[in-house]
Symmetry: C2
Subunit: 609 residues, 2 copies
């Protein structure tokens, strides 16, 4: 009762299935909830480029401008091609569905598997990053990093269990505040530049020759910068969460997200270049830009605060996309069916809870230091990116719809760039990225195992298979008894009322005296019920009992009799009292049910005090 009241308080009253429509998102809320991952990467994406370039010299930092342009091209290609995916697959599922339908099952499972893992990594990485931002501001909280991160995951989980519209309403403010904050920052920075407050001496001019620059290094910088594009695919997975017409609304939201991401990304890259900012271990690039633009005044703290918030909220994108992707995989029987069940508030609560548990495990296992999971996470995004674009390519070639050459070109460019980025990741960061070669095959293998199991079950249960049921010619009932009590009486009366062909009471004795005594008492009390006494040398009840039941069952099978074990169980009034009684009946029940082909009947006797 207490637990259920607590659940109601945290999650809210259950919703009727018919209220599903009301739980759908309009574009403003969807943008907030589904793009927080992509937008938050602006806070670290540009920095990743600079970190690679600065290893040569600060002069090399001007390369961030052409590399930034490259990232924007990739962004454009991804947005356009995911727009095509949204219309082609209006029921969502994104990379998984696209790859499965066009490239075959294994490609689909590869895409689906990497995305599932990726959303878990999204949650763990972004919550850890957000926690770091918080504890950097309040260093006395630093020892509690893992606890704070775990609490944040729990809080986001509760919000998501309350339902997506409700969480969207709460989470939209910080996202839009972050966008506002960065717009102000970029606007103020550009204004400063135009009024001449930023001298050209602060940065190397574009095209300055740089000694020691290599293509490898530039590609590495480009790949690092592309990590700002993680999260772009989330909208295509989550179309079912949009208000009707889903695909239209989703594509408009995608366009808005692309535009915002492009503006914020180029703004930050440009300002970092203009101010000649080099990455520092103790201060983020965004923080440097903000303090150069405003000094450390309230605007600076506004920007830092909203950045910390968006990093935490990026996790929420995982919460929106993971359960829907899981539903798609579960409907195809590649993962457990429970992921298709809607919870009290119509969200797919099993997916939400699974995601939380996995990410909490990651946070605890890595003690909140999940930064070195980032390359793994980025490569896990570009695998499905590449597969999805290639899938679309194949689709256009196969179907050749009106204007297919344009569509083909878009997806071709997307596929080529995604593939290149993926390759660069594998080449330049193999040391951090190798685990995908182990866990992706493992995941795909598990998917197949699960599917095979579901299909075998379905086949065995289907009533059309011709194997006729074994007819039941009679019933034997075995009643294990522990004494001469009302509980036993109650069970015996029940067994008698069903008039089986035979009732056998079984008593397990630990020594000969008790055995004899019991037999005598029984003969007085229930002379018409056959009593079998068993002797236990090792003080175990289950062992002699199952041995006896085996014998009975063996005989019964010969004449098509069914064996039912009738277990007398008394049930105390209060639950703490259970601990005071041997749970032998529980053990017997579990043991018999799973190991043997027996019917187990529990006859409860409720105590009144």
């Amino acid at each position: 009762m207490l637990l259920s009241a607590l659940k109601r308080f945290l999650i809210g009253q259950p919703l009727k299935s018919a209220e599903l429509g009301e739980q759908k998102l309009n574009k403003t809320k969807a943008l907030a909830i589904l793009s927080s991952d992509a937008l938050s990467s602006v806070a670290y994406g540009p920095e990743q480029i600079l970190i690679v370039l600065v290893t040569i010299s600060t002069v090399a930092l001007w390369y961030s401008i052409p590399i930034g342009v490259g990232v924007l091209v990739l962004l454009l290609a991804l947005i356009l091609s995911y727009r095509q995916i949204i219309f082609a697959y209006p029921h969502g599922g994104g990379a998984y569905v696209v790859s499965k339908e066009n490239l075959g099952v294994n490609a689909g499972l590869l895409a689906g598997g990497s995305l599932l893992v990726d959303y878990i990594l999204t949650v763990a990485v972004s919550i850890s990053a957000g926690t770091d931002a918080i504890t950097s501001a309040f260093p006395q909280l630093h020892p509690y990093n893992v606890d704070i991160a775990t609490l944040l995951v729990v809080a986001i989980t509760i919000l998501n269990l309350r339902g997506i519209t409700e969480s969207a309403s709460i989470l939209a403010y910080p996202v839009y505040l972050f966008i506002l904050a960065l717009f102000i920052l970029i606007g103020a920075g550009l204004y400063k530049g135009m009024t001449g407050a930023v001298s050209p001496d602060m940065h190397p001019s574009l095209g300055t020759p740089v000694a020691g620059i290599t293509l490898f290094l530039l590609l590495k910088a480009f790949a690092s910068g592309s990590s700002a594009l993680t999260g772009v695919e989330a909208i295509s997975n989550a179309i079912p969460n949009f208000k009707d017409p889903g695909p239209n609304n989703a594509s408009k939201t995608l366009a808005a997200m692309g535009l915002l991401l492009a503006i914020l990304f180029s703004g930050i890259v440009y300002l970092a270049y203009a101010y000649g900012i080099a990455p520092k271990a103790q201060e983020t690039v965004v923080s440097q830009i903000a303090s150069q633009t405003f000094g450390r005044n309230y605007m600076y703290y506004f920007i830092q605060g909203t950045t910390a918030m968006i990093l935490v909220l990026a996790a929420n994108t995982g919460y929106s996309a993971f359960p829907l992707l899981a539903v798609n995989l579960a409907r195809d029987k590649y993962i457990a069916r429970m992921f298709t069940i809607r919870g009290d508030r119509l969200g797919y609560s099993n997916g939400i809870i699974f995601l939380s548990i996995m990410s909490i495990i990651l946070i605890i296992a890595f003690k909140g230091r999940t930064e070195h999971l980032i390359p793994l996470y980025a490569v896990g995004v570009f695998i499905p990116f590449t597969l999805a674009q290639t899938g679309m390519l194949v689709k256009w070639v196969r179907e050749k719809p009106k204007g297919w050459l344009v569509k083909l070109t878009i997806n071709l460019i997307g596929a080529l760039i995604s593939f290149t980025v993926m390759l660069i990741f594998f080449i330049t960061k193999l040391g951090q990225v190798w685990p995908v070669f182990i866990f992706l095959p493992l995941i795909v293998y598990t998917f197949h195992r699960i599917k095979r199991h579901y299909e075998a079950v379905g086949e065995q249960l289907r009533i059309t298979t011709c194997e006729p049921a074994v007819p039941i010619e009679g019933n034997v009932m075995i009643v294990p008894v522990a004494g001469i009590t009302h509980v036993v009486e109650n069970s015996l009366n029940y067994a008698k009322s069903l008039s089986p062909d035979q009732i056998i009471a079984v008593y397990v004795a630990f020594d000969r005296d008790t055995e004899k005594q019991f037999q005598e008492k029984w003969a007085d009390w229930q002379p018409d019920v056959r009593l079998v006494t068993l002797h236990s040398h090792y003080r175990s009840i289950i062992q002699p009992l199952t041995k006896f039941i085996d014998t009975v069952e063996h005989k019964a099978k010969e004449s098509n009799f069914r064996v039912t074990v009738v277990i007398p169980q008394f049930i105390p009034k209060k639950s703490w009292q259970h601990a005071l009684h041997n749970q032998s009946s529980l053990l017997i029940r579990a043991f018999l049910l799973y190991r043997k082909d027996l019917i187990v009947t529990t006859v409860p006797y409720h105590l009144k005090k």
Copy 2:
């Protein structure tokens, strides 16, 4: 299978009940196993006295001699009076039984409760102390203190689960090595003193006047020194573990333990005085004595090593005494009956496991720093000491056996000193000792609650109560069905074979279409079985189902029909596959059994692949 093989490997093959006699202890082993707690206190008891005295001045250290004599008197009184208890109560139970029989139930429960808690503290405190000794020798292990302590508890638990004779055989060596080590130390120290190698200038002469000494301080030093006597009562609890004749063997073992304890204690106290040793934070008194006697050679390390071992093994006394005390309390129905069950190797495994879990919890909760539990632990010993002696007093006055005046005098002295020590603890260390005022009443209250519950249950189950069983006039069977499958067919056939008065199949639908479809299919498939379809707005199966069952049950009760819920359950071949299926039948079963007065029958359908 794997688990049970692991269990066999760790614990050994199960023993027959008839082999109980072979599991009993001879005196040598019993001394080792039951006196390790008392003997180990020699390693810290004398130090406790010096720590109090040195707060005045180093001159005051000579008072350790008269205080030591006082402790020896108390030891003598305790040994003599526990000897009397052993013969008066040859079945063991010690302070609990003595107090209960002579002073009333509550006194007994107070004694029993404090001893139970005390044995848990013994294990936690001595394992922590032993771990400290180990990690002092290997400082690089220091961060793993809690892990090492936990592992040690687990190791001792496994030894004890293997059976007491086996653990005694292994654990006897270190105990006797420790005794040997201290004998050599004391012998060498005395020899040095006699050969004049110890100058009288090293220590103040006895009787030197000391400024600022108070009675309060001396009493505090005495009480602290008395903590060396914890563990003296263990033998009286454990008489059933002795080879026949138990009481004789136990009393001889007790005498041997008393003698050893007296020699070791006085030796250490005297040498500490003779060398003029003051307690140091970084080095124990025994270590100081050893290094002054031998220098830091191999003998020094032999003494230090065996001391560390005996500290760990002191825990084992708790393992011998706790389960036997628990059996006594459980037989009287004050704690759960499970404590009376002998495990595979004839030890009371539930008591052993409970003790381990509780002490691991304490170790983890206090992060291995359990020193400040020592006063609590000491006071928890002197409460039952006092009660037991007072109980014996009352017994002698009441029964007046031959020579009762001598016996009375012994117990009177014991009771008075124990009571005084207890009072001193309360007065001088109230800040550390106050929790007993909360948890002891709580424990006694719980004991009574449990007893009342067992008595109520017994009364309700006893067949002699005149309430006649309600006759069963007929049976209704409800079969929840989830589809048209072999599993359902199997259950329906079973229900039919018992020919109840009515069979009702119940189907819970989430929307109207499925509901209608199912009704049609059912009418084709099982036209003779009545189908009831229920509609669930909130996607819950249990809620509408229980509501329906309630209605049926209500009607059935009017005409004395019994309601059986027949649950079809298919059982996958491998256990990992369970996770892939909704565990609704499990939930339904648990829910129905505990909340309602229904009979629950599970009909398994075992999948073949």
